[in-house]
């Protein structure tokens, strides 16, 4: 169970997010709705990465791939005039699950440095694939003309509807992932992080579980991509670039690895800092690079890890 402080921060944040659109209306700054919508999408993506990276020690340097795949699912179908949201969602989920399964089969046979390099290379392969697909815009990308249609009364073109869909998804995903992390399945993933040999010695065929976790993480990230495609109304292979994967890892670290909720805030922190620095100077990465190194050296536990209050080990 989370400490009281962390619980309050979480609930407080969700409440703020829930009423944010009303606040922006009041201060007449609708831009913030879109901004936070974007932040929330990356929170979902970051949480999905923490699931395998923080808890399972699978350092996947190609996670942004699934973000991109989600946008492609929406975009390609919309391009062919299939705008039914349910259908798009089905394609998104099954597509990302399938690809994550195959990639997981290939890469999870390895570990350590090999695993990092392979996930990097395989994700990049999809990036190059995306660039070479002229039919879908190549590296220029493709605009998505219509957002997904779910219910006739729920028009996603309304900014608030989009926002609340994203918030709703974030809330559900956060709860589900938290449940899974503490379930029997989650225990196996976490145990395999610490000591895979030990897990096998007590009788767990760990590969199966790690593969399942890998697929789950991919599908959740794909969902984030689905929302991203709808929000930005744009499809581009850039979302799959390894640089994006690096950003996701930064969000996880800044938030706090292996905490699930930390990366939620990590995404927020990273995107805010990036926005701030980018306004400052065009060469913001020049400053961010060394800053990142310093963070790794001195603030590794991330924001969530710096909060006082260890998790209470007893019951729910």
């Amino acid at each position: 169970m989370l400490s009281k402080l962390k619980m309050s921060i979480l609930i407080g944040s969700f409440l703020v997010l829930a009423v944010l659109p009303f606040i922006t209306e009041w201060i007449d700054e609708p831009f913030y709705v879109d901004l936070m919508a974007r932040v929330m999408i990356f929170s979902i993506a970051a949480m999905s990465l923490d699931f395998i990276l923080g808890y399972g020690a699978m350092i996947s340097f190609g996670h942004a791939l699934y973000l991109g795949l989600g946008t492609y699912a929406v975009g390609i179908l919309a391009h062919y005039e299939v705008t039914n949201g349910w259908l798009q969602l089905l394609v998104c989920i099954s597509g990302t699950a399938f690809i994550a399964f195959i990639l997981g089969l290939i890469s999870l046979r390895t570990s350590g440095i090999y695993f990092i390099m392979i996930t990097f290379a395989l994700a990049q392969m999809f990036y190059f694939l995306g660039i070479s697909l002229e039919a879908f815009g190549g590296d220029d990308g493709l605009p998505i003309d219509t957002r997904s249609e779910f219910f006739s009364f729920f028009d996603l073109n309304e900014a608030w509807n989009m926002y609340y869909l994203i918030l709703g998804t974030l809330t559900v995903i956060a709860i589900v992932l938290w449940k899974v992390i503490n379930s029997r399945f989650g225990m196996v993933v976490r145990g395999s992080h610490s000591n895979d040999a030990r897990m096998q010695a007590i009788g767990f065929p760990t590969m199966k579980y790690r593969l399942a976790a890998f697929v789950i993480a991919g599908v959740v990230c794909g969902l984030a991509g689905f929302l991203l495609g709808n929000l930005t109304e744009f499809l581009t292979p850039e979302y799959m670039h390894w640089f994006r994967s690096g950003e996701l890892m930064i969000m996880v670290m800044v938030g706090g690895m292996g905490t699930l909720f930390g990366p939620l805030f990590g995404a927020f922190a990273y995107l805010m800092v990036e926005d701030f620095l980018a306004n400052f100077t065009e060469y913001w990465q020049f400053y961010f690079g060394p800053l990142l190194i310093l963070l790794v050296l001195f603030a590794k536990q991330g924001l969530w890890g710096m909060l006082p209050g260890k998790e209470d080990m007893s019951d729910d």
Binding site: L53, I59, F61, I106, R109, T110, G112, I113, Y114, I116, M117, I118, F120, A121, L122, Q124, M125, F128, L129, I131, S132, L133, E134, A135, W242, G246, M249, I250, M253, M257, Y283, W284, Q285, F286, F288, G289, P290, L291, L292, I293, L295, V296, L297, K300
Partner: protein
Amino acid sequence: MTLLLFIEQFLNGMQFGVFLFLISAGLTLVLGIMNVVNLAHGSLYMLGAYFASTFFGLTDSLIVALILTIPVMLIVGILIELVVLRTMYERDHMDQVLATFGLILFFNELVRIIWGVEAQPLTLPIWLSGNVEILPDAPYPVYRLVIIGVGMAVAAGLFWMITRTRMGMLIRAGASNRPMVGALGVNIRFLYTMVFGLGAVFAGIAGLMAAPLQSVESGIGEDMLIFAFVVIVIGGIGSIRGALVASIVIGIFETVGRSILPVLMLEVVDSETAQTAGPALASMLVYILMAVILFFKPQGLFPARTG
């Protein structure tokens, strides 16, 4: 696809393989001996290209540029090792990935600040820009043959050093059993710095040689880095021999594959499909090869460490 065209692509593939080898050799040693993931290795390649174009611009001589770039790259490599990499040896891979990722950001921006956003021009001197007839009626650029030659020379020199010198023996020992070498009382820090510096020099040479062939701009290191990763994964971490074999194989596979595949596809599908799917599939070839090899040998073809 004529035989001549095939030979030309084959040689191009070897030349590309040379670049890959120069980059991967250093990287595989760093990975194998120091157990550090260094994403910024591509940045060294990029810096080599930038320094080369600047020195060439100043002296109009490629040879002088080479002579100047080598010590500069060595110094840059040593600096990076002393300032950043040293802090990462005891850290886990995640930290190393993030920290060296930060280095990439830094260097990519640094070159734009120092040299501007425009790509740096570097044209070949007259004596290198001609063609030579490798077969009757088959002209091939002299420069590319020079690259292959330089690459082979470096590979030979590296092999000599690894197998015949004391330093080389330490490197081999370090690649297969790192803690032991430290326990033997060898000055590990010095070894690490030298290995990293050497890797930087090689990557820089690759950058220098590549500069006349491609545009010198920010971010060119990362595309090569990915290939270097594939090479190392296939060749085996810590193995120079593996890096050489894998580099040549990948270089040829990638280059020849890219030109053959669309042609082969025309035999099977119509030209429209071949035009769209061809390049797409071609870009995936190398990765498919990697996946297949990994399926049978998850540690690569010549892993330096036993298990």
